[in-house]
């Protein structure tokens, strides 16, 4: 028996071998086909009773009292997972971020039931190179559930999105899922700061890749895309819950680090008529949440490195995550899930690696902190 048994070690090595060597030739069509093929299986599987080894999920799988008590007819609840901000370099340069991205994929693949889809939150690459994006696509191809791609500034500013769009299609799109209208935005457009400075594409990319330089422009969704958004929403009733994915937070947190979207208010105005709006964003690499009017915001964790909280502008509802331990490359990082509830609200589970997961209930946000307060960190940011 011992000889036939394939240990986790062996299987893991073999899997990674396949990912990193065997799938070199994967193109966009193959990538998307993989997703289509698994969708049916995943949907069938999600009908099975919840059976997870994560107790936190068992707790959250309890019937949604808010919805049933309110007697809402409701839509079927569903769960999706996310992986975000992997910041992959070429693998000859940096293995650390590869290891982390692979861990995230393992994590979401171990979920049972499987999530309806996995959102990738942007910044797949670090410097926007084709090799980096290729590596990212190969790693994400291992995700069992369908993957929904979002673009980040690190994917974009080397060739202004040519490679990313060739691989993954248009950066902004929408779809309907189990009664929810889902919108994916490209929120990291910048005004041209490079032409006048005669920057090469690499210099432009390096500038955008840093937080604390004063040269680059602020992120924006931009006129064209806001028009597209208005048109897209024109046919969606105001009672339909909205899920909006953006790479940068769709509000103004800290301008100096571009934790910021310059036309955030205009986008919020477009979303205002809807009863339930949840915005999920990447870019900030930390536990971060906010409520502005009808809109609940959740930031996603990164798999590459955690960022400290900015010196000012932190939304008052955000309870900081524990300060990360630099010995452990995974600390302060992770992935997560969003439970889209029958009542149109969405809860967020921060699956912090090497920490206990933290659930942030929508009730906490919509009550402006009056109920369901998430746990406090033992060590907040300095």
């Amino acid at each position: 028996m011992a000889a036939r048994h394939k240990s986790v070690e062996t299987k893991y090595m073999e899997d990674r071998e396949a990912v990193l060597r065997g799938l070199r030739g994967l193109d966009r069509r193959t990538f998307l086909k993989v997703l289509a093929a698994t969708t049916g299986a995943v949907m069938a599987k999600s009908l099975m009773p919840p059976h997870s080894f994560q107790l936190v999920e068992v707790a959250n799988a309890a019937p949604d009292k808010t919805a049933s008590a309110a007697g809402m007819p409701g839509k079927p609840p569903f769960t999706f997972a996310y992986v975000s901000d992997t910041h992959l370099y070429q693998r000859t340069l940096n293995q650390r971020f590869v290891r982390a991205a692979v861990k995230a994929v393992d994590d979401v693949n171990a979920l049972d039931p499987q999530p309806d889809f996995v959102l990738f939150g942007g910044d797949l690459a670090q410097l926007g190179r084709r090799e980096e994006l290729d590596l990212g696509m190969q790693i994400l191809a291992e995700v069992k559930a369908p993957v929904k791609m979002m673009v980040g500034e690190h994917d974009w500013f080397y060739d202004l999105g040519d490679t990313w769009q060739e691989m993954f299609g248009p950066p902004n799109y929408s779809f309907d899922w189990k009664g929810v209208h889902v919108v994916v935005l490209m929120s990291v457009h910048e005004k041209d700061f490079w032409t006048a400075r005669k920057m090469t594409p690499a210099e432009r990319m390096h500038t955008v890749a840093g937080l604390d330089n004063g040269i680059q422009s602020r992120f924006e969704v931009g006129d064209d895309e806001r028009k597209w958004l208005s048109a897209d929403l024109a046919k969606v009733p105001h009672t339909t819950p909205l899920l909006v994915f953006s790479h940068s937070p769709l509000y103004k947190y800290y301008r100096n680090w571009n934790f910021w979207t310059d036309d955030a208010e205009q986008v919020q105005t477009i979303l205002k008529p809807y009863q339930h709006v949840t915005v999920i964003h990447g870019h900030t690499h930390q536990m971060l949440y906010n409520q502005i009017g009808n809109i609940s915001f959740y930031g996603m964790l990164s798999t590459a490195w955690p960022w400290p909280y900015a010196p000012t502008g932190l939304p008052p509802l955000t309870i900081q995550m524990n300060r990360a331990d630099p010995f452990d490359q995974f600390d302060g990082l992770g992935d997560g899930r969003i439970n889209a509830r029958a009542d149109g609200l969405a809860d967020k589970i921060y699956s912090l690696w090497d920490r206990n997961p933290v659930t942030v209930k929508a009730d906490y946000l919509v009550s402006h902190g009056k109920t369901a307060r998430p746990p406090a960190p033992q060590f907040a940011s300095y």
């Binding site: 011992a2 048994h5 240990s7 986790v8 070690e9 299987k11 893991y12 090595m13 990674r16 071998e17 990193l20 060597r21 059976h51 997870s52 080894f53 994560q54 107790l55 068992v58 693998r91 000859t92 940096n94 293995q95 650390r96 590869v98 290891r99 692979v102 861990k103 393992d106 994590d107 171990a110 049972d112 010995f327 452990d328 490359q329 995974f330 600390d331 699956s351 912090l352 690696w353 090497d354 920490r355 206990n356 997961p357």
Partner: protein, 434 residues
């Protein structure tokens, strides 16, 4: 080590243990079992004053009672297994077996941890499932593959029936035998097993000649390139070489498929998550043992995580790791050097180290310098055996992985973390004691 050979070795050693216990019964447990003095180089006076629980102060009578119970095989169901069966003073308060043999020659799943300095443990057992030494006692006594008592009541009844004990319990606690007091007495005895005074402690105290140059280099690697210090923490206040925490370093990934195993454990333990005794049974008696800390916390990040053990007196507490799977200190260092065993729950601090053979030898020399004087002779013999073996037999060595260039395509490094540049930090050993 091949399974068949392990078993054979275990059986042989077990026979020896049984023989020695019989001998002990006749002659008493010997000087190594005596309570130890606090007057030892490197003894953490402050820490010791913090860890004696106010509700169970140390008294000579209680310690003597605890010692009698510790060496009394009547605490087991068949009257053959005493605590020292697996925690023998001559073997550094372990059994020197990969995993321990309990009642009716049944083998458990875990390597017996030493009693030496257990007084300083923040939690007990490899997975920390007991919060105190007092609470820990119940585990082995009632575990069906260890001492096999049906219940704590049975144990109390059996002890109560022995007249000397009846009197001693009255004298020490002022009332009849209870299981909590059995725990208190044994814990008090265990708290007297203090093991410092090693050559390393003398070196830190300022005696530059107390350890070899190789051990000094090892201490430097321990602090630097080897990244050992971050988990096996040492400082004068807490000179234990452990962070008292739980890390997945991949040991049980050799033979455990974590995700299905974790589901199985949750199913078995039920919605309540199981009580201490249920967890104890899974940890000692089933394949779910490999889940480690997860059985206690049910948190995914604790899957396959085990408590960081102290590094003192390693040359009398072999073999190593929670399952006793590694035979020599070179094997354990080889394990870390290649970045542990890959698995989805591997601790993020475990990365390839790129240690050379000479650096590994230096690290072992340093570890050998952590031996307390009463074990100097057996430790030297064990060192010689392990050294000899390490020249020919290195099952865990994977130099390519250790150097970060395990191939995944031509010229590509492995996907499991970068290896840092060699550190050229100053040797703290040469900068004088702290």
């Amino acid at each position: 080590m091949k399974p068949a050979r392990t078993l054979l070795l275990s059986l042989l050693a077990a026979t020896a243990v049984v023989a020695s216990v019989t001998l002990v019964a006749a002659q008493g447990p010997g000087p190594l079992a005596d309570p130890k003095s606090e007057n030892q180089a490197g003894f953490p006076t402050d820490l010791y004053s913090w860890v004696i629980p106010p509700d169970n102060p140390q008294t000579p009578a209680k310690i003597a009672l605890g010692k009698a119970l510790f060496f009394d095989d009547r605490l087991s169901a068949d009257g053959k297994i005493s605590c020292d069966h697996c925690h023998a003073p001559a073997k550094g308060f372990t059994d020197q077996l990969p995993t321990s043999m309990g009642i009716r020659a049944q083998f458990g799943q875990r390597n017996a941890p030493t009693i030496l300095n257990a007084v300083f443990n923040v939690t007990q057992f490899w997975d920390g499932r007991a919060p105190t030494l007092e609470a820990q006692v119940q585990g082995p006594v009632t575990n069906p593959v260890e001492m096999g008592m049906k219940s704590t009541d049975d144990a109390v009844a059996k002890i109560k029936a022995i007249p000397e004990y009846q009197k001693q319990f009255q004298d020490v606690f002022g009332h009849d035998v209870t299981f909590a007091d059995i725990g208190r007495a044994i814990a008090s005895y265990e708290r007297t097993q203090l093991a410092f005074d090693s050559p390393f402690d003398k070196f830190i105290g300022g005696d530059q000649s107390a350890i070899s140059d190789s051990a000094k280099r090892g201490w430097s690697i321990f602090n630097g390139k080897g990244r050992c210090m971050s988990c096996h923490g040492w400082n004068p206040t807490q000179p234990l070489f452990t962070d008292q925490k739980f890390h997945n370093i991949g040991v049980s990934a050799h033979n455990a498929n974590f995700v299905p195993l974790a589901r199985k454990a949750l199913d078995t333990l039920g919605k309540s998550g199981g009580g201490e005794q249920e967890i104890d049974k899974l940890a000692i008696g089933t394949d779910m043992s490999g889940l480690g800390r997860f059985l206690v916390t049910k948190q995914p990040h604790d899957i396959g995580a085990f408590r960081t053990m102290s590094l003192r007196n390693l040359l009398v507490t072999q073999p190593y790791f929670h399952d006793g799977s590694q035979v020599t200190l070179w094997d354990t260092i080889d394990h870390y050097n290649k970045g542990g065993v890959q698995n989805p729950y591997l601790d993020g601090g475990i990365v390839p180290l790129g240690l050379s053979e000479a650096e590994e030898d230096d690290l072992v020399a340093f570890l050998a310098s952590l031996t307390s004087p009463e074990y100097a002779q057996p430790a030297k013999e064990e060192y010689d055996l392990q050294f000899k073996r390490s020249r020919t037999d290195r099952p865990q060595r994977d130099t390519a992985a250790a150097n970060g260039d395990k191939g995944h395509g031509p010229g590509l490094a492995g996907p499991f973390g970068d290896i840092g540049p060699a550190q050229t930090s100053e040797n703290p050993a040469l900068l004088g004691g702290d």
